[in-house]
Symmetry: C2
Subunit: 218 residues, 2 copies
Amino acid sequence: MDVTALFNLSYGLYIIGTKYGDRKAGCVVNTVTQSTSKPVTLTVCVNRDNYTNACMKQCREFTVSILSEKAKESTFGVFGFSCSKDRDKFAEVSSALTSSGLPYVTEGVTGYLECKIINFIDNFTHTVFIAEVVDAENLMKEPPMTYAYYHNVVKGKTPQKASSYAGDDAEYGAAYTCSVCGYEYAGTKEAFTGLPNDYVCPICQAPKSKFVSASTAI
Amino acid sequence: MDVTALFNLSYGLYIIGTKYGDRKAGCVVNTVTQSTSKPVTLTVCVNRDNYTNACMKQCREFTVSILSEKAKESTFGVFGFSCSKDRDKFAEVSSALTSSGLPYVTEGVTGYLECKIINFIDNFTHTVFIAEVVDAENLMKEPPMTYAYYHNVVKGKTPQKASSYAGDDAEYGAAYTCSVCGYEYAGTKEAFTGLPNDYVCPICQAPKSKFVSASTAI
């Protein structure tokens, strides 16, 4: 079995938004798929270890913000590499609330969907949610961000809790790599050393001290 | 609610292959999504009216052939716009059988997956299948076909039974359109009229008589 065959499945990238009482929660997923058109329903798969998963099961409602190619790298850092239990992720990006008080991202997205959970099944490490889309709006006319674009152009990494996580995929050809999220600094060792001490990873905001050099990483 | 917001969800395109006794069945889907990585499982959504759906529920096993950008237009015609009850679709393309006798497509695909159904839920018009991937092989190093590429480059249409079908999306700017699958003939009226009488639609193989002119269609 060659699991790399699965690397050719195609996906978009999305931010799930939900709430638990007054607390907002959200995370990045690549697993949103329209299931039916009458009524409009979709499926989405979220890691059971994610705080967002527990909040979705309580709230029974969530939003899907559809990331565009204009999405900021920091959006992936905030939503992909940290936990909603510790911070209000939506306060760190441009966001708004639906009439039901559900948070969604308003910047760097093509639009958003508002969904009511119909059913869910726990499937090993993840939960498959089936939900009806009760509202949908376009926000920006830009190409949607695909997973392939994220990997090949943004040079982003796969969070460990993702459905498609396939082990440490950092490529140590880079002079310096962020040890938190795997982001590869594009410049030389000299350029990295010359960066100010308050430099932070553009993906996950880890401080400069969390970067490891190629020799350390290998 | 603006349902066009859902047009920015990203997908690949796949052929599902299964069998019922000696009969092979298969169809095109855009809904294959990896769900977990340990073990490797996926979800796929198939219309309940599809003969393939009934065969999957009986057989409990299926293949996923991952279409590449090199997939032939006729593959979409055979698998997207006709029924497995009436014809052996896999006899009309290059195909092979897994050791369990499940059919998969071997031409114009990046590879294939062999899956065992763990669970399924009927969801209105479609069924959401959850399956474990028990084998996976790469066949060709080509970019996978995305749904966006199929619509924008191949100029393909959405089968009525697809999860994302949003009504008749034929654009009647074309001089002649296939009334079976919506394929738009790219040339002028004169060029179309001049085609031989045994011309068939390159997507669904419908005869020339099934094409309607712009004036008829409007």
